[in-house]
């Protein structure tokens, strides 16, 4: 060691008033954690909405009315789910004015037997003849109609073309993969024909440990393309008027309802976080103002030892930044803790799966949060530090008496 490092003095000063330092640290931790949690939550929500249904390709989605929430979860986050209704609804929907194409889909939640996939995998049966939502995503548009036990794999699934995969005791051959859609609902799905799905269910009774109970002729949802004359909202209303027990969701509406529910919440969270932050800024600033006051004599003596104004300024800023940065680090734990603790509540109250933004974004937010915590320290100690640096050494030593 060649010379004494100033940061050591800063640390030793913090140790001197342990209780106060810990209280300030707790404050910084809570604020930093709340801000991080809120930002990740909000980014995640926006993300979820953006990649949501408008890319689904259907103008209206028809599901059993009691399964609306599940349908939204599936669409927004690709949360595997299954619910069923009779396929007779399909014919009725086709007759509703404004409907151009109506194509059925069947959602099957595969049981845990499927080996090797860590992702949530979702089985979707489609009608290759009427389908218009999956087709645009097929690679190279090489859409030969699916036949027999052929399947198409979503982009996020680590599955190679021509591999053979068993589902419920039936072997399927992968004949193609999808383009990335940005929707978990599609990217994590395996697509097969309705007929293959019914056959698979039938075979599962004898071939599978966990038979799939699926009556022939049932479907989960109907994807509707409107004729472009009547707007999707109106078509949805007409469908619900014509049919009992179904919920028709216009795809715009999926987003807008969620948005409405969320925007209040998000502004609330943001406001509370910002107020909290401003308060912390003020409190830390005030604490350091007092610290500077009570340490005047010592600061004066440091000046007498040869400390320049910058040294004094740095010393105070160091102390504040050490506290807020440590708070930022501890806040990572608090932030993620809050997110996971609240996840369930959010799911229940919003009927929306909670979605973290992609890892790269989370990493950026974490880095930003740490930088932000440093800035908090800088900002809050700016005034006290500059006051301290401007004390006249003799006055400071004398006033400290």
């Amino acid at each position: 060691m060649k010379k004494f490092a100033l940061y050591k003095l800063a640390i030793s000063n913090l140790r001197r008033k342990m209780v106060r330092s810990i209280l300030l640290l707790l404050l910084a931790t809570i604020v930093s954690g709340t801000l991080l949690g809120a930002t990740i939550f909000i980014t995640g929500m926006k993300n979820a909405l953006n990649i949501g249904t408008y890319r689904l390709g259907a103008d209206v989605l028809v599901v059993p009315s009691e399964n609306e929430a599940q349908a939204r979860s599936a669409l927004l986050a690709g949360k595997p789910t299954s619910f069923y209704m009779n396929s007779s609804v399909l014919e009725k929907i086709k007759e509703v004015e404004g409907v151009e194409i109506a194509s059925p889909q069947l959602f099957i939640e595969p049981s845990s037997f499927t080996c090797c996939y860590s992702v949530d995998l979702f089985l979707i049966a489609i009608d290759p003849v009427t389908d218009f939502t999956v087709r645009p995503w097929l690679k190279n548009n090489q859409h030969q109609s699916l036949q027999g036990n052929q399947i198409i794999a979503g982009r996020s699934l680590p599955i190679m073309t021509e591999s053979v995969i068993p589902f419920f005791g039936t072997l399927f051959t992968v004949v193609g993969t999808m383009e990335p859609t940005g929707m978990n609902f599609f990217d994590q799905s395996i697509f097969m024909t309705m007929d293959a799905a019914y056959a698979m269910a039938e075979n599962s009774i004898t071939k599978s440990m966990q038979p799939l109970k699926l009556e022939k002729g049932i479907i989960s949802a109907v994807m509707v393309k409107t004729d472009g004359v009547i707007n999707p909202d109106r078509v949805a209303t007409r469908i619900m008027y014509a049919l009992d027990g179904v919920k028709a969701i216009a795809s715009d509406e999926v987003i807008s309802t969620v948005r409405k529910q969320l925007s209040g919440l998000l502004t609330g969270i943001m406001t509370v976080s910002m107020v909290l932050w401003a308060m912390a800024l003020f409190m830390i600033g005030f604490a350091f103002y007092m610290i500077v006051n009570e340490r005047q004599r010592e600061l004066g003596m440091l000046r007498a030892m040869g400390a320049k104004r910058q040294h004094i300024f740095l010393l105070i800023v160091f102390e504040a930044v050490i506290i807020t940065f440590s708070g930022g680090l501890a806040g990572l734990g608090v932030g993620f803790g809050m997110l996971f603790a609240l996840q369930e509540k959010i799911q229940q109250s919003l009927q929306l799966p909670y979605i973290l933004p992609p890892p790269a974004v989370v990493r950026e937010l974490v880095a930003a949060s740490l930088i932000f915590s440093i800035c908090t320290g800088l900002l809050s100690s700016l005034i006290p530090a500059s006051l301290a640096s401007r004390l006249e050494p003799y006055e400071a030593i004398r006033k400290g008496e």
Binding site: F4, L9, A304
Partner: protein
């Protein structure tokens, strides 16, 4: 050599002007050990602070060799304090959360530092008889021991001038005598200039020159 020319400093306290330094002219050569005595409130501390560049005079000059202290900017003045002055106070001045040794290191935070910092500090602690207490915290030391450490600290950058403000004011007579002996040794061995403010007549008698202060007016005895 440190020298003042018509140094003035006054304070206004509830409408009344108090002259803490009233046209002080003093010239102290390198290696001298001088004492300043005077009643409380006569301006001794103010004068030491003026000499050490801790407060700006209303008028007049402080010259170190031929360098006018207040012609320098804050940064250079701070450097000068760091290298050429050592201050010893009349109160406990060690940082309580640093050990004796670390307290000695402290002034090096503001300078270039030394390759042999530890040896340098330990030598000084030995000089003041505190080398076996290097890792003690101030609270584990007696008042006299703490004062010794702060004296050693004043020497860490090997200053030319030591400004001591009633350095033994709160110590018992025996310790006081030891500390004065220490000053004399340092003065003789290193040729350090000592300017000591004191109430103690016997210290004053041991000094090479003697000044007394009265209402900001300094006279040599």
């Amino acid at each position: 050599m440190i020298q003042t020319i018509n140094l003035c400093k006054s304070y206004r306290i509830s409408g009344q002007v108090i002259k803490a330094a009233d046209r002080v002219n003093i010239s102290i050569s390198t290696g001298e050990l001088v004492a300043i005595i005077g009643h409380s409130g006569s301006g001794k501390t103010t004068l030491l602070s003026l000499l050490g560049g801790l407060t700006k005079p209303d008028s007049g000059q402080v010259l170190i060799e031929d360098l006018n202290l207040w012609s320098m900017n804050d940064s250079r003045l701070a450097q000068l304090r760091n290298k050429r002055f050592g201050f010893i106070y009349q109160f406990a001045s060690l940082i309580p959360t640093l050990t004796a040794l670390e307290n000695l290191y402290l002034p090096t935070a503001f300078g270039k530092g030394y390759d042999d910092l530890k040896n340098r500090a330990m030598d000084l602690l030995q000089k003041v008889g505190m080398n076996d207490k290097a890792d003690f915290y101030p609270s584990q030391l007696s008042g006299g021991q703490q004062r010794r450490v702060s004296i050693a600290r004043a020497f860490i950058n090997n200053p030319e001038i030591i400004l001591a403000d009633e350095p033994t004011g709160d110590l018992d007579e025996e310790t006081e005598a030891e500390i004065i002996d220490l000053f004399k040794t340092m003065n003789q061995e290193r040729g350090t200039t000592f300017i000591i403010v004191t109430h103690n007549k016997s210290i004053a008698q041991q000094a090479q020159r003697n000044f007394s202060m009265r209402d900001g007016d300094l006279q040599e005895n």
